[in-house]
Symmetry: C2
DNA sequence: GGGAGTTATTTCAAGTATAAAATAATTCGC
DNA sequence: GCGAATTATTTTATACTTGAAATAACTCCC
């Protein structure tokens, strides 16, 4: 590139004069974040306006809907990738709303099993159907093959990150 | 597809029997979120361990570093895609740390201009260099062309979402 | 130039999030 | 079985975040 050619050719100082440039990865990261924010803020708004629920509560219920037998708190924390204490508070509030049921596990008194109540499940299913439509709508400008590629590359990014984290 | 062919062919009930399925877009969205969480949590950890700073503060400083003349609070709120009140608090704390300088705008007494102090700039530059390296490291498993494609498709997703939001 | 509407920011209450310490129960080795 | 290490969850302190209401300053129109 022109820019590189214009630099002094002294190999001793080259590294200092032209440290490795990682601006592209940074731009990629910033774009990932802004894409996420754009969509998330809209989803948050629609959940509030239409169902008077917050996104963290919705996300937690979505996990439980996939686990009819209930889940341990730690399992929720892992899947949602948030801290333990965070889950404790969210579950408290959802139990208070009558959407969740928390019961001690039979064999291990440290563990609590959390599951959706009948009302919780009914409520969630209605919201989830709308939510799925919103997401499809927001990603509607991408063809199926573009969506597939995006899916694949994000998967690869996750593998890459996990490897770098070790 | 086989699955569709196996369904009853009654055109009257088809819509009910087989509502449009948007599961793929949903999976894409969930993967985007988990990719973001994975990387963000690691960056947050490294910023804390190495520089004792939080991610929101770092992000705010990054915006200001790009604006030598300073920025209005509303501009920060727009760029970071967070609420106004959020920015007020973050700026308060950063001013308290001596990293930011807040001054009334000359021509409009409603507006405050915020900029990095000399110390703020020095501090940020050091952190930013490390941060850039971390991001490059985390995305290192993707080739340049894969990064390019990902960048392009995320851009397209943003356009799509913005259009759907209207 | 005075009031209506708009814009910029702050305040407020509630909720979400973290890290670290505390509590409590289990498992494992001996 | 006893104690050490581990595991599951809660608690605590602090920070971040939101949406809505409040405050304050500007603009514009008549």
């Amino acid at each position: 590139m022109d820019e590189a050619a214009a630099l002094p050719l002294d190999v001793e100082t080259k590294v200092i004069e032209r440290p490795s440039d990682h601006k592209d990865e940074l731009r990629l990261w910033l774009r990932l974040m802004s894409c996420k924010m754009l969509i998330e803020n809209e989803i948050r708004r629609r959940l509030r306006d239409n169902y008077d629920i917050t996104l963290p509560r919705f996300d937690l219920m979505a996990q439980l809907d996939k686990a009819p037998g209930g889940m341990k708190l730690g399992e929720l924390s892992q899947r949602l990738m948030v801290s333990n204490g965070n889950i404790t508070g969210l579950v408290d509030r959802l139990v208070g709303q009558g959407l969740l049921d928390r019961q001690a596990a039979p064999n291990d008194r440290r563990t609590h099993l959390v599951k959706l109540t009948a009302e919780g499940r009914r409520t969630f299913r209605a919201m989830a159907a709308a939510h799925e439509g919103w997401i499809a709508d927001l990603f509607g400008g991408l063809s199926s093959s573009e969506q597939e590629t995006l899916m694949r590359l994000l998967g690869k990014a996750k593998v890459s990150a996990r490897k770098a984290i070790g």
